[in-house]
């Protein structure tokens, strides 16, 4: 593996709340090589979005970030605002979850694309316009010249997400962070958008982080998967190794919660019972222990650290790893 493009080193994010400090991200280490894909998976509130905002330097003003976010040899958290601004779009781009709210309702699609291009690439207006049309065509929007003068509300949700992707790709970033890019879309559109992202990623050799709550989304698309729970990475492995044998009961439970076509109708989904722990009151032991069916006394007493599994590159944080993937399979 070549030198990492992004390396997240011991990153912790704390948010002050009236009930005390909320630790949204808890000592996370991750890295990503150029051109590769990292999937970050976890249920709502597990800190995956906060982690992505920490990388993007878009945390709420009151949030406290510690640790380092090394990107291309620089620590993004300590970069001067102006240097950071110049790096955005050209090196680091994002696609947000909800295309209904991530495009400005009062500006035309053309404006929102061209302003990005003209801010970062030295192109005059006609050249930026030409590039915008090419980008819209590349993300599969029919009659792109016509779309430039339209406003977001004149486009469907899937169309808007394609536009958001076109904006993200406009300055050829080295890293694209897709934060639940398909969660707000119709199921029929989801696969199209994911395929589009994968295709453009290959064409442009960019690295990508896909954030999702759906292990199925990362299964065929990510090189490596990190599973997050209660702000921590609890299992991390190359995708194939993870699906061949998952060690962490939480990962298994996440996979079991995905509806499958072959199950009989009216079968209740094996949902994960209970709720994630209150992040303002950290547990002494493993944060998944209260919901884990394998939990033993030790799990409630001490926090398991990430440790290496037999297969290379596979890390997990569990005292009682699952012995075999019990007929779940990917």
């Amino acid at each position: 593996m070549s030198a990492p493009l992004l390396s997240i080193e011991d990153v912790t994010v704390e948010l002050p709340t009236p009930r005390g400090n909320l630790r949204a991200v808890d000592h996370v280490d991750l890295s990503l090589a150029p051109g590769r894909t990292l999937g970050i998976v976890g249920e709502s509130g597990c800190g995956k979005t906060m982690l992505s905002r920490a990388v993007l330097q878009l945390l709420p003003k009151k949030a406290k970030l510690s640790g380092r976010v090394m990107f291309g040899g620089q620590d993004l958290a300590r970069l001067a605002p102006e240097s950071l601004r110049r790096l955005r779009a050209r090196e680091l781009a994002v696609v947000f979850q909800d295309p209904m709210t991530s495009l400005n309702p009062v500006l035309t699609i053309g404006t929102q694309l061209m302003e990005t291009i003209q801010e970062h690439l030295e192109l005059d207006a006609p050249a930026a316009r030409k590039r915008s049309i090419e980008l819209l065509a590349a993300v599969g929007i029919p009659a792109p010249e016509h779309r430039l003068a339209q406003y977001p509300h004149q486009c469907s949700g899937g169309m808007r997400q394609r536009i958001a992707i076109a904006i993200a790709l406009s300055c050829e970033p080295k890293l694209l962070i897709a934060d639940e890019p398909t969660t707000a879309l119709d199921v029929t559109i989801q696969a199209q958008i994911l395929d589009l992202l994968a295709r453009e990623q290959r064409r442009r050799h960019m690295a990508m982080i896909i954030i999702t709550h759906d292990l199925g989304v990362v299964a065929g698309r990510a090189d490596e998967v990190a599973v997050m729970y209660a702000g921590r990475v609890v299992e991390r492995a190359p995708t194939q190794a993870l699906f061949k044998r998952m060690h962490m009961p939480y990962t298994e439970a996440l996979l079991a919660a995905i509806p499958k076509l072959e199950t009989a109708p009216h079968t209740p989904l094996p949902a994960i019972s209970g709720r994630p722990p209150d992040p303002t009151r950290p547990l002494r032991g493993c944060s998944f222990a209260p919901r884990c069916r394998y939990a033993a006394a030790r799990c409630r007493e001490a926090k398991p650290e990430l440790k290496a599994a037999e297969t290379s590159g596979h890390l997990y944080a569990c005292f009682h790893p699952i012995q075999m993937a019990e007929g779940i399979g990917a």
Binding site: L56, L58, R85, R86, L87, R88, A89, R90, L92, A93, V94, F96, D98, T101, S102, L103, N104, P105, V106, L107, E115, T116, E119, H120, Y151, H153, Q154, A164, I167
Partner: protein, 316 residues
């Protein structure tokens, strides 16, 4: 868009009718018979009866309303029985003064309020924001006659920079005209900016939480572009409403400020008409001012569509 304009215009008709009815009723139901007012206390009952017949005052109320409305439709709002001036002449003479005062006051008010609102919203909760929010509250609670007197004392009496009272038409001496208007316009503007600042500030703070602002930051746009292009336009709908209401209100002149600074505007015309029981002028002026208000609100509605494409395309 055309459908929207036509629909709003049709919607104005019943409002205008209601306004005309109310105006007429107010003038008609005021105590005191107009004939007595005109003839004075030496009038004989015969003279009064004759005048009442001439003026149509012996007709039933609904008939008088319809005939007055008919005249109004033809552009005849009546004539003052004191000066012989028609309502349109009287208003035509005074309106430019009130219009100029309104324009200058709104301009200064926006000039103070908008930049402060943006600066406060950009660093909401900061020292500047807290200071300005407090100052706005203090200014809101100061009555305009007090502000006027303080300004006169400071700029006219102590510093002697500006005249305290008086008026010359802009067409005769433009510079002197502007100097006469500075203090009254500033008095009104000092009462306007806190409202402007508060609504724009809170709308801006809400807009700055939106996903599209986060995306604009992620796109690496300059902070000034994010504030002025991405955040200001979607935040300005309430600002436009408030400004529209202010303009409508000031179009009718301002009794207190026009009186203090001796500006011959609509406000002074109204006060005069009330003192002299010049009911024809009174009801004509009130009707015209109310129409002005309705028209300004129509323009505000149209501005919404300009600002927000979703309204333009009938999505909201």
């Amino acid at each position: 868009m055309l459908i929207l304009v036509v629909r709003r215009l049709l919607g104005m008709l019943p409002v205008l009718l209601a306004v005309s009815l109310l105006t007429f009723l107010i003038a008609s139901l005021l105590p005191g018979d107009l004939a007595f007012v005109i003839l004075g206390d030496q009038a004989t009952p015969e003279n009064v009866a004759a005048l009442r017949h001439d003026m149509g005052l012996d007709q039933p109320l609904w008939w008088r309303y319809l005939s007055w409305l008919g005249h109004v439709m033809q552009g005849d709002l009546g004539r003052s029985f004191r000066t012989g001036q028609t309502v349109l002449q009287a208003v035509g003479e005074r309106f430019p003064v009130s219009l100029q005062l309104m324009l200058m006051a709104e301009f200064i008010g926006l000039l103070i309020g908008v930049p402060i609102a943006i600066a406060c919203a950009a660093r909401a909760g900061g020292a500047f924001d807290r200071f300005m929010t407090g100052s706005a509250f203090a200014m809101l609670s100061m009555p305009s006659f007090l502000v006027a007197i303080l300004l006169i004392y400071l700029f006219a009496v102590e510093l002697r920079w500006l005249p305290a009272t008086g008026y010359v038409p802009f067409t005769e001496e433009p510079l002197a005209n502007l100097r006469f208007f500075v203090l009254p316009a500033l008095t009104l503007a000092l009462a306007e900016w806190p409202g402007i600042m508060r609504v724009l500030r809170s709308d801006m703070i809400a807009t700055l939480q939106e996903d599209y602002i986060a995306l604009a930051k992620a796109k690496g746009l300059k902070p000034s572009r994010i504030l002025f292009v991405h955040a200001l336009k979607p935040s300005s709908l309430t600002l436009v409403t408030v400004t529209g209401i202010n303009i409508g209100r000031l179009l009718g002149g301002t009794l207190i400020v026009e009186s203090i600074f001796a500006l011959p505007g609509i406000g002074r015309l109204l006060v005069g008409a009330i003192y002299t029981r010049d009911l024809i002028i009174l009801q004509g002026v009130v009707l015209l001012v109310a129409c002005g208000f309705v028209i300004v609100n129509f323009i505000v509605d149209m501005l919404y569509a300009v600002l927000d494409p979703r309204i333009r395309h009938g999505h909201a």
